[in-house]
């Protein structure tokens, strides 16, 4: 016996290449925090465990490497359930270590005890209660293997105190480091398929060449599989236009002539309608989410579907594909490129000149629009985002909360690089932006990182700016303060006869500037259009502490276009005056 479970755990994390842990100690995890003092791993001490989880997610989304969070048992574990669920929905690789009460106390309602593996079973890709110290190195290796391969996701490892406490004989173990082969053979039920079926790939290539109105429907899987280059090669070889879902913003450059932008409930007219009218949807790492399809029986009625996904459960879950391909989307796209080339490449593509003309007409006719405010009026959020976009470095990372500001950020930013958009898609977790931005900045310290947040979201996790100030993580936060839970307000205005129920938050309670300053940030309030640019420039110059800009925005402004919930995408409303949609 040459080590103990706590040391073994930290050593295992080091060997997995972990450079940073986001966490907060407590009773059950205490013994693991002792060896952290001597470890090269950086620990970021958060102010709330939810922050640790979202920081780990932001880190993972910006770097592609798994984020790591460590918290104690009981309330520490329950506080990180939301980030686990968020990471699970968005397939974000993350490893969460939770302390647990000592094994003899498990199940006795001990102090700070909860059934962590039971609670998190439905929101993790996998979780494991480790009951013997000698199992810790293998459990950690398995966790990283599972979190990062196949369809990525969060994995939780629950560690009872007696297995890591050096004063307890149960923590003693002989150090060993399992080989890759041992890890694989220890998981007999886990064998993700990565290579697409050659016959299906050939079928897909034939459909691609023959299609007259094809659209590539790129999802977050493109980013998870690091397939952005492969996607570009396929699009350029075939000349097929690309829509990038909320999860795929940045997977294909917005400035590219083949890019149609974001589809879905708040997608632009061309992206939404291109999918509706297409005769072939090439779904790559996307999952036909209800926010993309609208009412399902009216979705892309004439389209054949090629669906590529690493997760077999996604194929046919929502829309029955004509050509299902299970595999790693990067490998499959590369194989598709080869197969299309074999059929004649760009020469072999059907005539799509009419389709291209139609798309160009739509783009011309239905751009994203808003009316700029006059001096003295409240700011238009879209204007703030345009200014933020134009005045920040091109490879800026944007993190977002959930709601109107998220949709505007996705619509108005120009995403030209992968891994520059950090947001909560599937779960829609308000409060995601600030901690996720901090995690992203830790992973990419050389980049400018802006959190675009709403006033409602900001109040949920703002305390992590104390973490950012203390740890010298100079993120920037733009609060679009419209004094409302804006998206809910929009729905109440449009679908509940303007009966506003519990959505008003007040513009100046709290005082965001004072609050941000109290948390160690530099803060500015911006109220008129001419102040917007200079304030952003000033914020971009500050690089030694967090900055918060509070923009007073117009609460009457709504997110358009919009496909009303439960409607077909043909019923898209392009602007506040109704606007036309459909055929």
């Amino acid at each position: 016996m040459n080590t103990n479970g706590g040391e073994a755990l930290i050593k295992a994390l080091e060997l997995e290449g972990v450079e940073v842990i986001f966490g907060l100690p407590g009773g059950a995890i205490l013994p693991v925090y002792d060896p952290i003092i001597d470890s090269p791993i950086r620990h970021v001490l958060v102010r709330h465990e939810q922050g640790a989880g979202h920081m780990a997610e932001g880190y993972a989304l910006a770097t592609g490497r798994p984020g790591v969070a460590m918290v104690t048992s009981g309330p520490g574990a329950t506080n990180i359930v939301t980030p686990l669920a968020n990471a699970y929905m968005d397939s974000t690789p993350m490893v969460v270590i939770t302390g647990q009460v000592a094994t003899p106390a498990i199940g006795t309602d001990a102090f700070q005890e909860c059934d962590t593996v039971g609670i998190t079973r439905g929101v993790t890709k996998h979780n494991e209660l480790v009951t013997r110290a000698e199992d810790i190195p293998l459990a950690i290796r398995q966790a990283f293997h599972i979190a990062t391969t196949g369809r990525p996701g969060p994995v939780l490892v629950d560690i009872p105190k007696d297995t890591v406490d050096p004063t307890n004989p149960r923590s003693a173990l002989e150090w060993y480091w399992p080989t890759d082969a041992e890890v694989t053979s220890s998981l007999p039920g886990y064998r993700p398929t990565t290579k697409g079926h050659p016959r299906k790939i050939k079928e897909a290539a034939e459909l691609i060449c023959a299609a007259r109105r094809p659209v590539i429907y790129a999802g977050g899987g493109i980013l998870r599989a690091r397939a952005a280059e492969a996607l570009r090669a396929l699009a350029e070889l075939t000349g097929i236009p690309v829509v990038t879902t909320l999860m795929a913003r940045g997977a294909f450059p917005d400035d590219h002539e083949l890019c149609l932008g974001m589809p879905g409930m708040h997608g632009n007219y061309t992206a939404v309608t291109a999918m509706q009218r297409s005769d072939l949807l090439i779904a790559l790492g996307s999952r036909f989410d209800d926010r993309v399809t609208g009412r399902l029986d009216g979705f892309a009625p004439d389209a054949k579907v090629i669906h590529v996904d690493i997760d077999p459960a996604e194929l046919g879950k929502v829309r029955r594909p004509d050509v299902p391909i299970v595999g790693d989307v990067r490998l499959v796209i590369e194989e598709l490129v080869t197969a299309v080339r074999a059929l004649g490449g760009s020469e072999a593509q059907a005539d799509r000149s009419e389709w291209r003309r139609t798309l160009a007409e739509w783009q011309e006719r239905y751009p994203l629009t808003y009316e700029q405010s006059e001096g003295g009026e409240l700011l238009k959020p879209q204007y703030v985002l345009e200014q933020l976009r134009d005045r920040s470095p091109e490879d800026t990372i944007v993190a977002s909360g959930v709601g109107q500001h998220q949709m505007w950020a996705s619509q108005y930013w120009r995403f030209n690089h992968p891994y520059t958009w950090v947001n909560s898609g599937g779960l829609g977790t308000m409060g995601f932006a600030v901690p996720a931005a901090i995690g992203a900045k830790v992973g990419r310290p050389e980049r400018t990182v802006w959190a675009v947040d709403g006033d409602g979201c900001f109040q949920m996790t703002a305390q992590e700016l104390v973490t950012a100030a203390t740890e010298r993580i100079p993120v920037k936060v733009a609060i679009l303060n419209n004094a409302y839970l804006g998206m809910v307000r929009q729905w109440q205005e449009m679908f509940y006869d303007e009966r506003y129920s519990e959505v008003y938050l007040s513009p100046d309670l709290p005082d965001y500037v004072k609050w941000a300053e109290a948390m160690g940030c530099i803060a500015l309030r911006v109220e008129s259009p001419d102040e917007v640019g200079p304030a952003i420039d000033k914020a971009n110059e500050i690089d030694d502490r967090p900055v918060v800009l509070e923009f007073r925005t117009d609460s009457a402004e709504k997110v358009f276009p919009m496909v009303p919930s439960g409607h077909s995408n043909d019923d898209i409303v392009v602007g506040p005056l109704g606007g036309e949609g459909g055929r």
């Binding site: 079973r121 439905g122 209660l129 599972i146 039920g189 077999p312 459960a313 046919g316 879950k317």
Partner: protein
């Protein structure tokens, strides 16, 4: 063949029917909870469940019977397959599998009717495994539908206690080119 037609007839168009899944899993703590929670999450009731280690003690086989439409079942099966501890899932079609279930039942059997009860269990090929003053405990391992039949016939005597194990099943041995075990995914 009659049995199979009976099952198909009972299924009817669009109505839920018994599906028998044979799930090979790692023999570890918590695996049963992972499997059952995928059904519970969707509000599907598990009709019966039997779990025991296989010949290889690293693995257990779960035989689960659920009443659910085929389409959502396909999704549940795919989700089950994603569980790290699940090795393999097969749906056992009643037509292509052999099924057995064990029932223990205590019935009222005072002197006057005792011989009738003993005769009945004999006809079914079961046994009397315990004898009380005016009660008998019977045991029968048979096809689940035969257990239903016995249960119906015993009811008039007065069932005091009854415990069934839930069915276990294996694919029928191959006699034709059609494989008996249909892998669902």
């Amino acid at each position: 063949m009659t049995l199979q037609n009976l099952n198909v007839g009972r299924a009817g168009a669009g109505t839920p029917r018994h599906h028998v899944l044979s799930v090979l899993v790692e023999n570890k703590a918590g695996v049963l909870a992972r499997v059952s929670s995928l059904f519970a999450r969707r509000g599907y009731n598990i009709y019966s469940l039997a779990v025991a280690p296989t010949d290889d003690e690293r693995f257990s086989r779960i035989t689960v019977v659920v009443d659910v439409e085929s389409a959502p079942l396909e999704q549940v099966v795919k989700q089950l397959n994603k569980l790290v501890n699940v090795i393999k899932i097969s749906e056992l079609d009643p037509r292509d599998s052999v099924e057995r279930e064990l029932m223990l039942v205590t019935v009222k059997a005072p002197a006057g009717v005792r011989s009738q009860v003993i005769e009945l269990i004999g006809v079914f090929g079961g046994q009397v495994i315990d004898v009380g003053h005016d009660e008998l405990t019977l045991s029968l391992d048979e096809h689940p539908e035969r257990l239903d039949d016995l249960e119906d016939l015993l009811r008039p005597f007065g069932i005091v206690d009854l415990q069934r194990t839930g069915r276990v099943a294996l694919a029928k041995l191959e006699r034709s080119p059609t494989p008996g075990l249909r892998s669902v995914v």
